[in-house]
Symmetry: C2
Amino acid sequence: MTASLTQLAFADSTSPLPETIYQRILDDLVTQAIAPGDRLTVDSLARDYQVSQTPIRQALTRLEGEGLVEKHHLRGYRACERLSRPQFEQLFAVRAILERAAAQWAALHAGTDDVDRLQELLEQLRSPSSRPGDAVRLDAQFHDAIARASGNEILYANLSRLHVHLHLARVQRESPATEEVHQEHELIVQAISWKDPILAEAAMFSHIERSWARLDGDI
Amino acid sequence: MTASLTQLAFADSTSPLPETIYQRILDDLVTQAIAPGDRLTVDSLARDYQVSQTPIRQALTRLEGEGLVEKHHLRGYRACERLSRPQFEQLFAVRAILERAAAQWAALHAGTDDVDRLQELLEQLRSPSSRPGDAVRLDAQFHDAIARASGNEILYANLSRLHVHLHLARVQRESPATEEVHQEHELIVQAISWKDPILAEAAMFSHIERSWARLDGDI
DNA sequence: CATCCGGAAATCCGATCGGATTCGCTAGGC
DNA sequence: GCCTAGCGAATCCGATCGGATTTCCGGATG
C-alpha cells in the first residue's frame, strides 16, 4: 500500500492508521470543514485520504460511538446536526453538574504539579492570544486540567466526552476573553490551591452559570 | 471461552450484522462468559460466530469506545480488567451525582406514562424473581427508566454508559432484594409522582448511599 | 400535471487476500 | 543450568473484491 507516504506528515508507522484518520475527521468536524448534516460516504473519504475503506469505517464507528456522526444501515453516515436549543441546555446542565464535582474533587486531590499547571494556564489565558481560536482552546485545556486534577478517571472520561460537543456547539461564537472571565478562573484555581472543596465547587458553579448567561441569546 | 455457535438463527437481514455481533459480545462480557483480561482475537471470534473479520472489528471498535475492551496496536484486544477499588469508588461517586440529577429532572419533567412505567417496575421488583439475575436486571431497568423520564438526553446517555460498568462490577454479587431496598425505590417514585425535585434528589441520594453501604466490604 | 415505474449509478456491507508485526517455542551457546 | 538467538505459527492490519441495497433520474401512464 503506497498510501500515507507522501501526504500525511504525521502518518508515521508508530501511530496506527485508523487513529490518524480518526483525528483528521474529528478535526474536520470540529472546525466545521464538515458541516452538520453533511453526508460522509466511506469511499469518497477513502479517496480523499488515499487509504482503503477499512480504516475509514473504523474511524466512523468510533465517531458514531461519540455521537458525532450517525449511521443508517445501508444508507451511510452523516455528520450529526447541531444540538437543538433544549439539547444544548441539557448539555450545559450536565456539564455544570460534572464540572462542579470535578472542582470539588480537584480541591481535595490536586497535587502541587496540578496547581502549577493551572497557574501556568491562567497566565497563558491572560496573555494576548496570538491567533483567534486560541482562547477557546486554552479554555478547554483549563477545564480539562481541572478534570484531570480531580484524580477521578471516570469523571474525567465523562467530561471529556461532553467537551467535544460543547466545543462543537460554540464554535464560531468565540466569546471575548474578558477580565471577568479571568477573575472567575483565578478564583477557581485559588480555591483548589487552598484545598477548599466548598469554595471550589461554588466558584465553578458561578463560572458556568455566568458562561451560560454570556452565551445565552446567541444560541 | 467457547462462544455459542447456535446464533445464526437471528441473522435476519433487517438487523445489521455488526449490531448483532456487538450484542453477542457485549452479552458474553456482562455475563462473564468472557472473563476480564481474556484475549479477544479477531479471527477466532470470526470463526466462532461464523462471520468474517469485518463485522467483528466493527463491534470491537465500538466496545473499545465504551471502555469494555482495550486495544493494543498490532497486539489485539483484551477484555478490560475489573475496576479497581478506587476506580469503583469513583464510578459510584459519579453515578451518585448523575442519578441525583436524573431524579431531580424526572420529578420536574416526568409524564404520567413515565410514572406508570415506574409503578409497574416497582411491582415487578416486589414480585418474587423467577430466575436469579432478574433482580439485577429489573434494578437496572428501574434506574434506566428514571434517567429516561428525566427528559434529558445527554444525562441519559451518560448514565447508560456508567450502568454497563456498574453492572459489570457487581455481577455475581447479587444483592438480596430486601424490603429496605423496595421502600427506597418506592420513596423515589413517590417523590417523582409528587413532582417534588428536592425530595426526589434526596431520596435517590439516600438510596445510592445505602447501596454503597450494602456493597462495601464485598469489593 | 402528478404519479408511478424501471434501470443505471453510487454506495454500503461482508468476505477474503497478502504483507507486516508480534508471540511462542526450540535449539544453541556461555 | 540459564540466557539468548532464531525460526515458525498466529495474529493483526490494510487493501480489495463481489453481491445486495438504496438512491437518483428519466420516461411512461392515468
